[in-house]
Amino acid sequence: MTMNRRHFLTATAALAGASLLPLSASAADTVKLGSVLDTSGIFDAYGKPMDMAMRLAVEEINAAGGLNGKMIDVTAYDTQSDMALYTQYGRQLTQQDEVDVVHGGILSASREAIRPTMRKTNTLYFYNVLYEGGVCDRNIFINGVTPAQQVEALIPFAMNKAGKKVYVLAADYNYGQITAKWIQKYVAENGGETVAVDFFPLDVSDFGSTIAKIQAADPDLIVASLVGGAHLSFFRQWAAAGMNKKIPMASTTLGVGNEHKVLTAEEGDGIMVAYNYSQELDTPANNAFKKKWAEAYGDANGVHEIAVSNYQGVLTWAEAVKKAGSTDRDMVIEALESGLSIEGPAGTVTVDPKTHHAVLDVHIMEFDGQKMKVLETLKQRQPIDTQAVCDLEANPNDNQQYEIKF
């Protein structure tokens, strides 16, 4: 066979075309899920279990036949605890990888770094972390607890048990400031009195004077919204002074990063907390979840609140895709807004159509022998803080994070 230029061109073009075929075919029958999380760097304690949870959820869905007959294909980027990388990988996911949905972001700063990109490119976005509340954007769905959901449950319970005079300690940044306001509001509503509110920068680690001041104020209950390693010193010094036996304490933050396993039983016992998830939840759904996690990763000790949130976020999205019968953004949002709910390891999670936040179960727990013993479960709490400021049914084009005022 003689080869002339025309033949050669036809042949190569055909070859090139053929080589593209399988690619384009596979692109059509998979669903692309994008993930951006800090799986290295200083936030990896949060990000790694979240990543593991996301992959576990995807494996499960794929093993059960995928979504509408299509397999989920994960594109995950490690943002290395660097906020600048969020912007970069957010663009890459939406413009180059053209994913159908993005799950991710840990700190509020990281969420705000990618939220505009997601909105502009019409890429559905899930933020699966407990946070300060107030984000109002039709393109985003959030399924972590907000301060009101948590505080509304925790404060009446703790005051009932301890008394009416409350001393508040909080971290000095937006989460602590906002949460402290909610605590004061619920203390007042339950007929109590907030004797003092102290804020601490994140690097304060010496609480000797604070402990003396607390004793001078002589409260019935301490509520601590302290954040991070330096602030953990407070609980240790509190116990070292023998105060943990004298004044009961509640916390809105302790235990999210499994701090109850860092404090000794003696230091931690009796501290009251309220979250969406506890490893000690004795429900069939949670036991099955922990078993699956242990099979995939060895043991389930690393599971924490926001890992479960991420897992539930992926499940919620998958359920909506099934219901919509498509991955089209608008159809999936409509399915989510129909009041869709799923059964997760932490209980029922329902999408609130007005705010795109989650209606979920809040469990009141107490530290007991380095575990979080569940004392009481409050079913289906509404995200009332965000509901007070955000109504996406009335204003679907709203796009901001409200500061919640009283």
Binding site: H231, S233, R236
Partner: protein
């Protein structure tokens, strides 16, 4: 009245802990003029050494007072041999090199222990003063600081070793001419300085939640104390530690812990404006 007693105890404790965290740096910076930006990380490693030893079943006091200083001292020795000794007399270069080291130590500790908070509880129960409960461990820290200051004083002033070390720091060429190897003496001094940093980190470990980046919280305070103290190691430590501790606790109790920290920094700025050479550059001149 009880509150007054508590405030006195807390203030003494604040002074003692400032002296404790600055002692290692006072030796390394004050005597050798090496700016060790990895000082905080040396303390952090002292804390981790203690926690690891305690988890292995070793008595907590042995872990804090013996194991941690030796471990961190040896790390310091290695650092001195590999890095610092090539940079004596080059202030900016040592700063850069030790800053790099601090990043390296944070990284390596994160790799080994993970980026999670760890800790041990204090071995001493709380003590009551009237109606108030107070951390009994505070007294332990005060005692350790007093012993430490006495020990440094005794070694520098009373032993031949201390005399040689002081002589070498003043005129290394003269010391060499008299037959002492400055290289060896610098090495030993750096070892002691590192070991003291390790000791401080170890003794403070039961009071804090330790993470690999904990060192950053100490470094600023340690430098402020040492620089404001001026040229004399011990007199400087005590005078500036005492001054800052009292200022800090006064504003902490009067207003809030945040204002206490601010007051400490503001008073340091004013102090260094009035006494650029530090407290002992003007007063107690020539004292140890």
């Amino acid at each position: 009245m009880d509150l007054a007693a508590v405030i006195v105890v807390e203030t003494v404790y604040a002074v003692a802990s400032l002296i404790l965290i600055s002692a290692g740096l006072a030796i390394v910076f004050g005597m050798m003029k090496v700016i060790n930006l990895a000082h905080g990380e040396f303390m952090m490693m002292g804390g981790y050494a203690t926690i690891t030893a305690v988890n292995l079943g070793i008595n907590i006091y042995i872990a804090m007072l013996v194991i941690a200083p030796i471990v961190v001292g040896l790390i310091g020795l290695l650092v001195e041999r590999l890095v610092i000794r090539h940079l004596y007399g080059r202030l900016v270069d040592t700063m850069l090199a030790t800053w790099g080291l601090s990043l390296f130590f944070v990284g390596i500790v994160t790799m080994i222990f993970g980026n999670t908070t760890t800790g041990i509880s204090t071995p001493i129960p709380g003590i009551s003063i009237g109606d108030y409960q107070i951390n009994g461990y505070n007294f332990f820290i005060v005692i350790i600081s007093i012993l430490l200051v006495l020990l440094i004083y005794f070694v520098l002033k009373g032993t031949r070793l201390g005399l040689i070390a002081r002589g070498t720091m003043q005129r290394s060429d003269m010391a060499a001419a008299l037959g002492y190897s400055p290289d060896r003496i610098y090495m030993a001094t750096f070892f002691v300085g590192s070991a003291l940093s390790g000791l401080a980190g170890a003794v403070l470990a039961p009071l804090v939640g330790l993470v690999p980046s904990s060192g950053g919280a100490y470094i600023a305070k340690a430098f402020i104390t040492v620089i404001s103290g001026g040229p004399s190691v011990i007199a400087g430590l005590i005078s500036s530690g005492g001054f800052f501790g009292v200022v800090n606790q006064f504003f902490t109790f009067a207003i809030s812990p945040v204002v206490g920290e601010v007051a400490l920094l503001v008073s340091a700025v004013i102090l260094l404006r009035l006494l650029p050479q530090g407290v002992t550059g003007r007063f107690l001149k020539g004292k140890l």
